[in-house]
Structure formats: C-alpha cells, structure tokens
C-alpha cells in the first residue's frame, strides 16, 4: 500500500539519453573576475521537477540561466563545458539563441508582463516566430492560458492591459507566455518569492500539472517548497554541486554533511 504513494525513483547516475532533459558536463561559469560555477556535472531527468537549493549567491540562479544562455546578456560572462539539450550542445557559439529560448522557457522572480494586453503578452513569442494567422494565435492563447490555469479568470478581458492583473495572475500569465511556445523545458527562477502563500500553493499545484508536458527546473529558497513539489533536488554551495538526488532522500537522509547542515538550518 505504502509503495503506491512513494515516488518512483530513477537512478540519476545511470539515466539514459532518452530520459535526460539536460545533461551538464564540466560546466564552469565566470562573471568578470568571479568564478561562479565550478565543474558542474549533472543529468536532469525528463518530465520531472528538479529543484535547485542553496544559499544566496551559491550560483543556482546562474546555473539555471545557463540552460537558456541568459548569462550571455551579462557583460564579461564566460562559460565553458557542455550543456546538452535535445542532443545538441547549446553552449556552442553557433547555437541559435532564439530557437533555444523558445524551447527552454524561463520565468523570473518578479512577474514581468509586458505593458500590453493579456492577449498580446501570450502572443509575444509566437509573433516573433512569424505566426500571424488570427485563428492560430487565438487557439494558442486559449491553450496556454488553460495550461497556466488562468483562462477562467481572464477569458472575458483578454484585451485589457496585463498590468491590472494581481501578482499571482501576472506570474501565471508569464508562465502562459512561456508555455505558448511549447517549450520542452521550463526554468522557474524563484517563481513564488514575490507572491503570498495561497498564490504560491496555486502555482505549486500548477507545476504538478505542467510536468506532464515539460521538464521543470525550479530555483527556490524555500526548502519546504522544494520538498513539496520537486522529484529531485540539487544542493549547491559556493558554486559547486554538493549533492543531487531524489528529494525524499536528500531531505531525509542526506549523504553529505554540508547538505545536512543547510537543510537543518545550521547555515544559510
């Protein structure tokens, strides 16, 4: 009986390429003089929620930003090593960033809807890809808003400004905006840290639904949240990956002393 409620566990070391969404090999990241990430090696499984935890400044946001090359926007950033998504190394300098970022969506800490209508917000990425037919856009908007569990709340005011929505609604709109592009991977960088507890719960439930159709990587400061929503958890400390295993193991019987200290609140 108990086994029914237990989460299935994959052997992270021996993940086959079909089961892997992101494979990171010897990733090093330097921002200016600062060495932010040291030799990260990990395989993030497909259709699971993977949480990244660690103190502020440990490099978890930088790591997640590597997965869709958002670090390129920072001056003097240097990345070495390989990140393999869908069979290709996205760290290659000839990588098509527009294509990559439409496949790997990202949601930020604070909701950042564009100052246009709800409809136009969701269409933003699709229009960039050159889709102009009204019906295609209408369908995509409805589907994405359904997936982000926002459709019922905004279906009567699709053409109102997105700025009048509440914080939680705005964050779901931003998720819908990313989902409209049908991403294989969704990166969430502390998506609930600016939201109230109830809205946070709502977004967490949404993540459980979303993992059916895409891989989710979430950065969070909140360990309860990591334990609640994630299947796998990685703990980073000062730019190094200390431990990466399924969440139940990591939070109940961590392998490393540092992990235990962190999750029991001895530092951080």
């Amino acid at each position: 009986m108990l086994k029914l409620f237990e989460r299935e566990r994959l052997n992270l070391e021996g993940l086959s390429p079909e089961q892997t969404a992101i494979e990171v090999r010897d990733l090093n990241l330097r921002l200016g003089q600062k060495h932010v990430l040291h030799n990260i090696n990990m395989r993030i499984p497909k259709h699971r929620i993977t949480a990244l935890i660690g103190q502020s400044g440990c490099g978890k946001s930088s790591l997640i930003a590597c997965f869709n090359r958002m670090n390129d926007l920072i001056l003097n950033s240097q990345t070495s090593g390989e990140i393999i998504i869908e069979g290709r190394n996205i760290n290659h300098k000839k990588e098509n960033l527009s294509l990559l970022r439409s496949q790997v969506g990202m949601v930020f800490q604070r909701p950042n809807p564009f100052p246009m209508s709800i409809y136009d917000n969701v269409c933003y990425g699709l229009r960039l890809q050159g889709i102009k037919q009204r019906r295609q856009l209408d369908d995509a908007v409805e589907r994405a808003l359904h997936e982000a569990a926002l459709w019922e709340e905004v279906k009567d005011r699709l053409f109102d400004s997105a700025m009048i929505l509440s914080g939680g609604q705005q964050q779901r709109l931003v998720i819908a905006r990313a989902l409209a592009l049908n991403p294989a991977i969704l990166l969430l960088d502390e998506p609930t840290s600016a939201l109230d507890p109830l809205t946070t719960l709502f977004i967490e439930e949404l993540m459980g639904e979303l993992k059916k159709r895409c891989t989710i990587v979430i950065v969070t400061h909140n360990m309860q949240q990591a334990a609640r929503v994630s299947d796998y958890t990685a703990f980073l400390h000062q730019g190094e990956l200390i431990e990466f295993s399924d969440s139940d193991t990591l939070f109940t019987m961590p392998d490393k002393k540092q992990t235990e200290d962190y999750i029991t609140g001895r530092y951080g």
């Binding site: 958002m70 400004s161 009048i164």
Partner: protein, 529 residues
C-alpha cells in the same frame, strides 16, 4: 569676522526652511517676470485687433498754421527720454488730401487744439492694406452718379459679383488658352497657323469681355471727404472694410475685432508686412516645425538607442555623450552658418549637379529653402532629443528586457517591441523640448530659408504639392524684421506684438498636443511600472 556663518543664528530646521524660502522667492520672482512679459505681449497684441475710434483733430504745425484732420491717436502718451521734464508726445496717424492713404505725426501736447471722437468719420480699409480716415459722402453707380450711401451694401454685392465673373473668365477661359498657346510654342507651330489664329481670336473675345466688365467695375465709386472738407474718391472694388468706429457699440467692436483676427490669421501680408495677415508666416512656421520633427525624431532615437543599448562602456562613448550634451550649447547662428555652408551650398549644390543639371546655373536645391531650414533645425535640436530619449531608455526595467529575450527575441526585436514602446513617453518629452526650442529660433533660419516675404507658400495644388525647395516665411523672422528693420508706425508695431502672441500660441498648442500624446503613451505603456 571671517568665521561668520548663519549657522550661529539659525537652528538646523530654520536653515532648511531658509533655503526653501529663498528658492521659492527666486522662483516667484521669475514667475512674476514671465507673467509680465506674457501680459505685455497679450495686451499689446490684442490691442491690434480692437478697433480704435477715428478722432477729429485740430493741431498747429511748427509754422503756426492750424490743420484739421481725421486721425487715430496712439495707445497713449509717449514720455520723451531726452528731456528731464515729463513731456508727453502724441502718436497721430491721419489722412488728408495731401496724404489720403495716411501719414504719421508726432505732436506735443500744446500743439493739439481740439481732439474729439468723430462719429461721422469711418475707418476705411482698402484691399491692399492701406487705410483712409474720412467721411463717406456718396456713391457713383453705373449711370447714376451721387446716390445715397444706403445703397452701399447692394453696390458692394454687385461689385463682388462682377469681380467674381472676371476671375472666373480668367481661370476658366483665358488660362487654358494661354496653356494651349504655350503648347503650340513648344511644338514650334508657325505664327500664322490656323490653330494659333483660332486661339488668338478666342482669346481676344474673352479679353474684350473682361475689359468690358472692368469698365463696368470702374463706374462704381465711393466719394469721401476729409476733415478739411476736401473730397476724394476710391473705386468701390478696392474697398475691403468700412467701419464707423466712433459709432460702434462694444458688441459691434467685438465683431470688427473678430473679423480682424480672422483676416490676421488667413490673409497674406500687405504693405511690406505692416498690414494684412500673417497666414504664410504661420503656415511656414508650422510646416518647418513638422518637417523638423519628422527629421529629428528617428535620428535622435536611433542615436540614443546606439548609445544606451549598443555602445561599449568606454572612453569613446563617454566622449560622444559629452559632445552631444555640449552641442546643445553651441550658439544657434553657428548652426545657421553650418546649414548654409554644408546643406545649402555643398549638399544642395551636389544635388543640383546630379539631378537638375539642365537648369544650371540657376540653382534648384542649392538655394535656401524650407527643407534645408528644417534640416538645420533638426541638427540644432538633435541633442535635446538624444538626451531625453536616453533618459527614457534607461528607465526601461531590466526584467522586461530579460523577459523579452527569454521568449526568443533578438536584440532588435526586443528594442522594437518592448524597449521603444516603454521609452516612448521619454521620446515625446524630447520632441516637446525640440519643438519649443525650434519654434522660437530665428537667427539660423534667416540664413537657410526664411525670408521677409515669400510670394508662394511651400504647399500648393501644383505637383509635387509640397515644394521643399521654396523659401518660406516664418513668424519669428517676420517679428524680427517688422520690429527692428522696417519703418514702423504704431499700428504695425502692435501687429508685431500680435504676431508674437500668435507664435506663443503656436508653441503652446504644439506643446499641448505633444503633452496629450505623451500622457496617452504613459497610460498605455507605463501603467503599473
């Protein structure tokens, strides 16, 4: 002594309020000065439109003989600056048999024997802008001399109808015949060809009709009489307005004033910009500002985008930024000289050589014109637009840019779809400042295209409709010329004040439009940020 400071006398809190009060005092002083200037312009400007009564004046000249004239008296007394004693001088504008179309006179108070409003005299404005102060006596109608003035309105309608007929014949019949004759000239048709003779016959038929109508017109005359009793007569066709300003009620005066405002706004200048309207100058000013805005906005915005989004953060960029800011401090006449030398002579000269070679040595684009003036103004206002746009671009939140990039947008797409809309209120601020600066500028315009009098508007029904190579009239130049360079009488001086008021209103209206636009952009793109 050396260590004195008001800290000893004032507490910390008092020091703060002292500084604030001092600032408020200076601000209100400036405000008072500004209101005074605006008040003066508004007062003297509106004075131009308000009808003044015609007076019956008797004065003695230097030789001691007395003269009786109809006259308008200046806005008041002018204190002499040459003598210590308060001596009042009267500005008089009068008509008499020697100067039927008006003359000016400055009188001292003792020379005036009698001054009273003359109810019987009228302020007669002719179509060429000149004025006569006289008493209308009688009308000459065709075949019926010396009719009473009761028939004046009817006679004027007849005259207008005749004039309309003449204009119709000129435009509908004579002009096409001219054109066809010119075509024959181009095809080198012989002088005695039948087609040419037929056209000539047709032409003389219509010509005779016009002459006949004109001779009819000449029979409508208005007889008037000056204060001295001497008579004079004018063609009724020359008459534009006739007002008994001494008899008008306030409402009647308001009607005359409204009429004068309408004439001022829609008519061409007459009598070397001392009478008539200022429409060509108003049109030229607004057109020049519009072209300048269209030119300066894209260049300024693109330069600002380069500086904030693309330029590397190094010394070179810093030097460019400083240069841009310093460009705003260059005297505007320098821009005028630059515009004349570079745009007009160099660029315009090159265009002439390339495209209008057949018309050389007569220049087409290589001469001052409205386009070169707008371009010079665009260069002049470029720093203002760049600085304001940069300010707007810097205010775009980083997370919005990140959001756009995260959806797969390239840099250009992010700028076009996200950054520019959000920065648009900042861009509008720059445009507002540019308009305000350009509208008041006169010095560079005089070098690159604004003239005292332009026979044609830069816009008409002739292809290509907008003639950017034409010289144009500008309100600022009109004011400068009218106020300092022309022989001015009191009336044209107050016309300059009225032009000044109009220029202020133009700047005001353009600014209001831009502010409304900016407010709407703000509501659309900046709500919630």
């Amino acid at each position: 002594m050396g260590k004195w400071s008001f800290r000893r006398f004032l507490s910390n809190r008092q020091q703060q309020s002292f500084v604030i009060s001092l600032g408020a005092f200076c601000a209100s002083l400036l405000l008072v000065a500004l209101v005074c200037v605006l008040g003066l312009i508004a007062l003297r400007g509106s004075d131009y439109f308000w009808p003044r009564p015609v007076h019956n004046l008797t004065y003695t000249d230097a030789a001691g003989s007395a003269h009786k004239v109809y006259a308008q008296v200046g806005a008041g007394q002018v204190a002499s600056q040459y003598s210590a004693a308060t001596q009042h001088l009267w500005l008089i504008r009068y008509s008499n048999a020697a100067y039927p179309f008006g003359n000016q006179l400055i009188l001292e108070t003792p020379a005036i024997q009698n001054l009273a409003v003359a109810k019987e005299a009228a302020d007669i404005v002719l179509k060429d802008g000149t004025r006569i102060f006289a008493q209308p006596i009688s009308l000459d109608l065709p075949g019926k001399p010396a009719q009473s003035l009761a028939a004046l309105e009817q006679a004027r309608q007849q005259v207008n109808a005749l004039q309309f007929d003449i204009d119709q014949i000129r435009t509908l019949h004579l002009a096409p015949i001219h054109r066809r004759l010119a075509e024959l000239d181009i095809r080198a048709v012989a002088d005695d060809a039948p087609a040419r003779e037929r056209l000539s016959r047709e032409f003389s038929v219509w010509q005779n009709r016009v002459l006949e109508l004109e001779s009819q017109l000449a029979e409508f005359r208005l007889h008037i009489q000056f204060a001295s009793g001497e008579g004079f007569s004018i063609l009724l066709n020359d008459l534009d307005q006739l007002n008994y300003t001494g008899q008008l009620s306030p409402w009647g005066k308001a009607g005359v004033a409204a009429n004068a405002i309408w004439t001022f706004l829609t008519d061409s200048p007459k009598q070397a910009n001392t009478a008539g309207g200022v429409f060509p100058a108003l049109f030229g000013t607004v057109l020049m500002i519009f072209i300048m805005t269209i030119l300066v906005t894209p260049f300024g915005v693109m330069a600002a985008i380069y500086l904030t989004e693309y330029a590397p953060d190094n010394t070179m960029t810093a030097v460019i930024r400083i240069c841009v800011s310093n460009m705003a401090g260059v005297p505007s006449i320098v821009y005028g000289v630059f515009g004349l030398g570079f745009f007009v002579y160099f660029v315009g000269g090159q265009i002439d050589e390339l495209f209008f070679g057949d018309r050389l040595p007569a220049p087409t684009m290589g001469t001052p014109g409205v386009f070169w003036a707008a371009l010079t103004m665009a260069i002049l206002t470029l720093p203002v637009v760049i600085v304001a746009t940069e300010e707007g671009l810097r205010r775009v939140p980083q997370r919005l840019k990140a959001g756009s990039y995260a959806l797969g947008a390239t840099k250009l797409e992010t700028i076009w779809h996200t950054i520019l809309p959000i920065a648009s209120p900042g861009i509008m601020t720059g445009v507002i400042l540019a308009i305000a600066r350009a509208a008041g500028e006169v010095a560079p315009l005089m070098l690159v295209g604004a003239v005292k009098f332009a026979p044609n508007l830069p816009f008409d029904g002739e292809f290509p409709y907008l003639h950017l190579d034409r010289q144009f009239m500008h309100l600022g130049v009109l004011i400068y010329d009218g106020a300092f360079h022309s022989q001015t009488d009191m009336r044209s001086a107050s016309m300059m004040f009225a032009s000044c008021l109009l220029l202020l209103l133009v700047v005001f209206v353009l600014n209001i439009l831009a502010v409304i636009l900016r407010k709407r952009l703000r509501q659309r793109y900046l709500r919630g940020y």
